[in-house]
């Protein structure tokens, strides 16, 4: 029986505020909290709450037959905690059913894998900890932003202890091969590679409510037919889409929720397709061959390479500066600096500097900037401020000095209080004398 692997991604970037060069060294608030709060609350209502509800309902209806996987970035989890704790609760509930596998990845949806193994380890470690906190699960399958992957990235993930990784089933890599099988990394054959079926994934993510698309209107029966009789032979089909597909990319009025509901009904009653989690696929299927990916591969654009994030000089410059201060940042041990540094790694900041026209489905997350250059200027101003903070951390007074200064100040104040008390005492006496 064919298995179907459903993977939902959940990540929202932190919008940066307009950060002028006057702010460098003067103001360390980098984020547009107002926009963010509104955006998160809106998304919770239109997408996260109904989508997680739907999944919970499916689990209670079909029990063990209902399976799916979720990648939830650590930074977005924090946003849920801060603005919409109800969403956090739903994810925790989903995890407690045991039917949903949580995937590993980077804490802030970052490009750390393009910088160094060390940077990746830091991000992945943070993410692992955040997910363990939430679900009690240890993540085993890795997922990068934009499904970035190369032989080298795979090796890093394997070194970090991951058993599998998900990437794009791009035609220029697969050639005549089908994405519907399990592959493995040539440098670390222990690491299994799951290839996304991009056509079927993008049908939902990008085209579902497009009236000009030839497949429109897409019904669950039609889509189920495609799953059954895909052009290429397959043991398992891997769909990977943003959870925002449901309710945000396509509004509830497009029928996307009922579509998913009915599709899951068809799958669970057909007896021809069964749902599996990525880990189950890794354990049950044998890799058919190695897959060679010498250059970074992703789901972005026609080229399906990393050029969306590191395609021009601006992006490379920003990335170099960002990871150039990595050692200093970690040495500060300052939680605020560390947090900002991790947030600034979000791949979306780099995407906004791209001169490529945004490809689906990333066009749903439009750049808030008028041009890539504005995005670069804003980002660099912020990054320079962070650099100054990091440097001043080392040049400033040592903790001992700070404590000594504070103690002196406390002593001075105490003396002053004593003086005032005496003064009060004296004045009272004089009053009585009168």
């Amino acid at each position: 029986m064919k298995s179907l692997c459903l993977i939902f991604r959940v990540h929202q970037p932190l919008p940066l505020r307009k950060y002028r060069f006057f702010d460098i060294g003067a103001d360390h608030g980098y984020y547009d909290d107002y926009t963010l709060e509104n955006h998160m609350k809106k998304l919770a209502v239109e997408c996260y709450l109904p989508a997680t509800d739907l999944l919970l309902n499916q689990v209670s209806r079909y029990g063990g037959a209902m399976k799916a996987a979720i990648y939830l970035s650590g930074s977005t989890l924090e946003l849920f905690n801060r603005y919409t704790p109800g969403v956090t609760a739903r994810f925790r509930e989903l995890a407690s059913t045991g039917q949903i596998e949580f995937l590993g990845g980077t804490w802030s949806h970052s490009l750390a894998c393009l910088a160094s193994e060390q940077a990746l380890a830091l991000q992945a470690g943070n993410h692992q900890a955040a997910i363990r906190d939430l679900t009690g699960q240890t993540t085993e399958v890795f997922l990068n932003p934009g499904l970035l992957y190369s032989d080298e990235i795979g090796q890093m993930a394997a070194n970090l202890g991951y058993k599998g990784i998900i990437t794009e089933g791009a035609r220029h890599i697969l050639g005549w091969k089908s994405p519907g099988f399990l592959y493995c990394n040539p440098l670390q054959p222990r690491l299994k590679v799951l290839m996304r079926h991009y056509k079927l994934s993008e049908d939902l993510e990008c085209r579902f409510s497009d009236p000009h698309w030839e497949g429109f209107p897409l019904t669950a029966d039609k889509y189920f037919g495609w799953l059954l009789n895909g052009g290429q032979p397959a043991e398992s089909i891997h769909l990977c889409l943003d959870l925002e597909t449901f309710g945000h990319y396509h509004p509830a009025s497009s029928g996307i929720f009922r579509f998913l509901d009915h599709l899951l009904y068809l799958i669970n009653h057909s007896g021809e397709i069964s749902l599996s989690t990525p880990s189950e696929i890794l354990n049950s299927l044998q890799p058919v061959s190695m897959i060679n990916v010498p250059n970074p591969l992703s789901q972005a654009g026609e080229e399906r390479d990393a050029s969306l994030w590191i395609g021009n000089d601006l992006q490379n410059e920003a990335l170099n500066l960002l990871y150039g201060i990595a050692d200093m940042v970690t040495a500060t041990q300052d939680p605020r600096i560390l947090c900002d540094w991790h947030q600034l790694q979000d791949s979306d900041h780099f995407r906004f500097m791209s001169e490529n026209t945004p490809a689906p489905p990333l066009h749903h997350r439009k750049s808030p900037y008028n041009s890539p250059y504005e995005a670069f200027l804003n980002y660099m101003n912020i990054l320079n401020d962070l650099t100054i903070r990091v440097k001043s951390h080392f040049s400033g007074p040592s903790p001992e000095e700070i404590i000594r200064n504070l103690k002196n100040r406390v002593n001075d104040l105490e003396k002053e209080i004593e003086k005032s008390k005496e003064e009060i005492h004296r004045l009272r006496k004089r009053k009585k004398g009168h």
């Binding site: 002028r20 060069f21 006057f22 460098i24 021009n312 000089d313 601006l314 490379n316 410059e317 008028n370 041009s371 250059y373 504005e374 670069f376 200027l377 660099m380 101003n381």
Partner: protein
């Protein structure tokens, strides 16, 4: 195709972008080929860069013999330019009084001519500008009947009356080229005489060429011209010669940020001064240069002094030809914060000279450029931020320099000329079909 073109200025005797654009367009037309051009300016100096075209000064055309024939005509023309009088040429005060003592129809006008029977022109924008425009039109009619051509092309309002008159006298269709409108020049406080001249030109013309969509909209909305008559043809820039490409040594190690253009309301100089003060509050090793002259220059000097930045802020006055290029090449950033700019060729020249540019969104050139930072002219903080970014993030400046040069290089006068030729052809076709019908 033979074209009779009227323009107020031609390099090197220019006071702004108009002459540069006229020259570029004529060169483009010559390059395309199949066009013979007669370009008429009010005053020819003899040293104009007239490769491939014939240039004629209105001051060289005798008008004396027009006296008897032209009276009736002149009533119409002068009425159009709101100076209601036919004219009688005279050469000396004595003759003037002799003529004056006779009786003439109401509103007859006397015009001073030289001994050769020509009318003197200054060709400048002096206090006698309206007078000169009127006389220019008079001569234009004369030129129109003594030369052969198919189309008349008039650049900017000073030449519209000339174009109208030439068209009326010869019966040939008129194209007018709008490089700027009164709304751009005055900032809302419009001169109604100029507005009327512009509007009459636009109404008389068979086709109107606007230098950007921004200008096209102004023409349609503010002058109430039917949109089908108005075509956008973007300007271009002349590529630099090998001589000009040679590096220029900068005497100072500091960065240079340049504003170049007339120092008038339209160009937004005060926003440049404000942004300079903001940048200087954050970094030391930068100098700001305001190259150009204009009615707001003194105010700007005062403003810079008030802000206490004169130590790093310089005024060069108007720079001509080579000096302007040298200034551009020495610059690290070029800024054009125009409040209203129909097109704006100078940023293109700066890009060709390897300088990254910042332009206001309220400029026509912003419609065609990708590798330029665009800000709203009033947002001095954004402008300052962009200047700071280009000075401090070399990779951004490098990207703009490299790509900008290619981009500006692709905007060729030849392409603009081809578009203009299309306009001529469509107009001629239309005129023919109309004549056939009648």
């Amino acid at each position: 195709m033979r074209v009779l073109m009227f323009g107020w200025e031609f390099p090197p005797h220019i006071s702004g972008g108009l002459g540069t654009a006229c020259c570029g367009l004529t060169r483009g037309l010559t390059e395309v080929g199949g066009v013979s051009l007669l370009f008429v300016v009010p005053r020819a100096w003899g040293d104009e860069e007239t490769a491939g075209i014939s240039l004629m000064g209105a001051n060289q055309i005798p008008v004396v013999y027009t006296r008897s024939v032209e009276k009736e005509t002149w009533e119409t023309v002068t009425e159009q330019i709101r100076v209601n009088s036919p004219l009688l040429p005279y050469q000396s005060p004595e003759e003037f009084w002799a003529l004056k003592s006779r009786s003439y129809p109401k509103g007859t006008r006397f015009v001073e001519v030289t001994e050769a029977g020509t009318i003197p022109f200054t060709g400048s924008y002096g206090p006698t500008l309206f007078e000169e425009i009127r006389r220019y039109a008079l001569v234009a009619g004369q030129i129109a009947i003594s030369n052969d051509f198919e189309v008349i092309h008039a650049h900017d309002w000073m030449a519209y009356p000339a174009g109208i008159e030439a068209s009326r006298r010869s019966g040939k269709p008129l194209v007018i080229h709008v490089h700027a409108t009164e709304f751009d020049r005055s900032g809302g406080n419009i001169n109604s005489i100029v507005y009327n001249i512009e509007r009459e030109g636009m109404e008389a013309a068979g086709r109107i060429i606007a230098v950007s969509n921004l200008t096209r909209h102004t023409i349609i909305e503010k002058y109430r011209i039917p949109p089908r008559k108005v075509v956008t043809v973007y300007n271009a820039a002349e590529p630099l010669t090998e001589e000009e490409k040679k590096g220029i040594k900068k005497g100072i190690t500091e960065k240079i940020v340049t504003f170049m253009g007339r120092i008038t309301y339209q160009k937004g100089p005060e926003y440049f001064v404000e942004a300079a003060a903001l940048v200087l509050s954050r970094m030391e090793n930068v100098r700001f240069v305001m190259a150009g002259s204009g009615d707001m220059m003194e105010a700007m000097i005062g403003h810079a002094a008030r802000l206490g930045i004169t130590g790093h802020f310089h005024f060069t006055g108007f720079l001509r030809g080579d000096d302007a290029y040298r200034m551009l090449r020495m610059s690290d950033v070029f800024v054009m914060p125009s409040v209203s700019e129909p097109f704006g060729i100078v940023p293109l020249e700066a890009m060709l000279a390897n300088v990254p540019v910042i332009i206001s969104r309220q400029s026509g050139v912003a419609e065609v450029l990708r590798y330029a930072i665009k800000t709203d002219f009033w947002d001095t903080y954004a402008l300052a931020d962009a200047i700071y970014g280009l000075l401090n993030y070399p990779v951004l400046a490098h990207l703009f320099t490299e790509r900008g040069k290619v981009e500006a290089g692709n905007l060729k006068w030849k392409n603009a000329a081809e578009e203009v030729l299309k306009v001529y052809r469509s107009l001629l076709e239309e005129t023919f079909t109309k004549t056939d019908r009648t």
